[in-house]
């Protein structure tokens, strides 16, 4: 049995009077592609926001490879192996594709400002590493021809993939993808599925929020379902599809093309 990487235990978060997440426990194991699904407003993105350190939980805990992460700041968590993409694309628009990825790659080195200014050997080495890593990641994702283009000028599909490349630059143990297929046509979704598997084979576990059920069923090893802040199911894709509680939760929501 593979090791649990991301463990979320009894996570509860309340905003004022609203309980966004209620005693949620989920996990992602090494080598796994897990999906987090549920109707809109179920709290899926909130989970991402909490485990990346953006919101502080009201109670509960979460850890990565055994290391407690509660209370740690976002950039610390990012450097410790948890990277994400965003539901609404949030690239650094006025920076080139290469720079977007390099910025994230920078996150892993300890070079400081003074070193960069005076050309210290470590800084020079780190700079080279960041750039080379960015280039190779762009190649991996198929965007090397866009390296010098501004992120906001890229076509939609490339922007989504750039976000993934950027997150990968942090060498995450678990990659969190928030609706990566939004706005994709069926062909693009198939390509995305292949990419996700490629990422997993490269050594990153993946936790995926998605609305497109065919993509989820095709690519995931395991599916977890949230509804109104509660986890209502956790199992293999086929089992989830036939789970009555899941069907009830989705009642009224037609399987639509995002």
């Amino acid at each position: 049995m593979s090791q649990k990487l991301l463990e979320v235990n009894n996570l509860t978060i309340k905003f004022g009077g609203v309980t966004a997440l209620n005693d949620v426990s989920i996990h992602v194991s090494e080598g796994e592609i897990a999906a987090l699904i549920g109707p809109n407003g179920a709290g899926k993105t909130t989970v991402f926001n909490v485990v990346t350190g953006y919101y502080a939980p009201t109670s509960g805990s979460f850890s990565l490879a055994g290391e407690e992460l509660v209370g740690k700041r976002p950039h610390v968590i990012a450097r410790n192996g948890l990277a994400r993409t965003f539901q609404n694309i949030r690239l650094f628009g006025d920076m080139t594709a290469l720079e977007n990825v390099a910025t994230a790659a920078d996150g892993l080195n300890k070079s400081g400002l003074v070193g960069s200014l005076f050309g210290a050997p470590r800084s020079r080495r780190d700079e080279k590493i960041s750039r080379e890593k960015a280039e190779s990641l762009l190649q991996f994702i198929g965007l090397e021809h866009r390296a010098g283009q501004l992120a906001r000028n890229l076509p939609y599909g490339d922007q989504r993939r750039l976000e993934i490349a950027r997150a990968l630059a942090l060498e995450p143990r678990v990659l969190l993808l928030d609706e990566p297929a939004a706005g994709f046509n069926p062909q693009e979704k198939v390509e995305l599925g292949k990419l996700i598997r490629k990422i997993r084979d490269k050594g990153h576990a993946v936790l995926l929020i998605e609305h497109d059920m065919s993509l989820v069923m095709n690519v995931s090893d395991r599916v977890m379902v949230l509804d109104f802040g509660n986890k209502i199911a956790d199992g293999k894709p086929k089992d989830i599809q036939n789970d009555q509680r899941v069907i009830d939760a989705y009642l009224g929501v037609t399987e639509h093309d995002s």
Binding site: A83, M95, D106, G107, L108, R131, G148, N153
Partner: protein
């Protein structure tokens, strides 16, 4: 349209630059620098300014504004932090030169470093609490900071009070060139040299991790943090660097002007420098200097503009934000297919 024409010039220059060899670039740089050093020798009625000598204008406001605009650009343009109290750093540098020059025998260069150090310290003092706040609040606090520095200067008799300080010493001769009351040119050259050093440093940083970190912070601070950028540290660095630059400018300014008073360091100065950054293209270091030169020179040349200078700057800021938020020369980078490591 003028802006389109500039754009093409910029692109054409960019094309030439990308295709040129290191030697060609070096020669270009040397020639350009020589031109700027030679400006005081220009004696042409077309460029002359009515009330003050052209050389004097070259020193203040032109190269001084350019230095400060570059400094403020790191904070506002590159990192997206609105600082409305930048004049405070300038004042701290000036008062350092004044006080240490009048009461001690310290070497000018040491005082220069001290001025920068005090300004940097002030930057940390202000930055550590203020940078945790969101944009509008941060701006208000920086404004308050600038005003507080001035009010303290006015109210503190031991540093001159409202009347200020006089008899500030000039720098010692460099390479045989004397710094005297009559000749403003050495001060200009000194500041120009400072500007070149600053440019070297900032451009270097811009192409590396700090530059990327700053831009990411400006683009989307929350996401920058998610991508591992230590946002607080880099924001503080931007503040401190901006402060150091302002402080250095202040030291040299005081050494030239020989007497300073709090009334020289008002909010208006902060706004003028901000206008240069906004006008020239937030984040674009060349645009910012161009903005500084333009906004500094025109009111001197066209005297009627001088009285309504702030009025025009105000309008400019509103207009620029509404019509061309990226500045006259946008910070947009040239998009290339391949990137080279410098």
């Amino acid at each position: 349209m003028p802006s389109l024409a500039k754009f093409n010039l910029r692109d054409r220059f960019g094309d030439w630059w990308d295709g040129s060899s290191p030697i060609q670039r070096a020669i270009f740089r040397v020639i350009l620098i020589a031109i700027f050093f030679g400006l005081p020798f220009l004696n042409n009625p077309i460029i002359d300014t009515p009330n003050t000598s052209f050389e004097s204008v070259l020193f203040y406001p032109l190269v001084m504004f350019a230095v400060m605009a570059v400094g403020l650009n790191v904070v506002v343009g590159k990192s997206g932090i609105l600082d409305l109290g930048y004049v405070a750093f300038f004042a701290i540098g000036a008062y350092t030169q004044a006080l240490f020059g009048l009461h001690t025998d310290l070497n000018f260069w040491i005082v220069l470093l001290l001025g920068m150090a005090f300004a940097m310290f002030a930057g940390i003092l202000l930055g550590v609490p203020a940078l945790r706040l969101r944009g509008d609040y941060l701006a208000i606090i920086t404004l308050g900071f600038g005003e507080i520095v001035r009010i303290i200067a006015v109210n503190t008799e031991s540093i001159g009070g409202a009347a200020g300080l006089t008899g500030i010493p000039s720098p010692p001769p460099i390479f045989g060139i004397e710094f005297s009351v009559q000749d403003v040119r050495p001060y200009y050259w000194l500041t120009l040299t400072l500007l070149l050093l600053i440019l070297w440093g900032i451009i270097r940083l811009s192409h590396r991790k700090p530059g990327r970190a700053w831009e990411a912070i400006r683009e989307d601070e929350d996401v920058a943090a998610f991508m591992g950028v230590e946002t607080f540290k880099y924001k503080l660095w931007a503040f401190v660097i901006g402060g150091a630059i302002g402080g250095a400018a202040g030291v040299i300014y005081a050494s030239q002007i020989l007497s300073i008073e709090p009334a020289l360091f008002t909010l208006n100065v902060s706004i003028m420098i901000l206008a240069c950054v906004v006008f020239g293209g937030m984040g674009n270091i060349w645009g910012v200097m161009f903005g500084a030169v333009l906004l500094g020179y025109l009111p001197e040349k066209l005297r009627f503009l001088s009285d309504i200078r702030i009025l025009i700057f105000g309008v400019l800021m509103v207009v620029m934000m509404n019509l061309r938020p990226n500045g006259l020369i946008p910070r947009k980078k040239r998009e290339v297919i391949s990137e080279k490591i410098k």
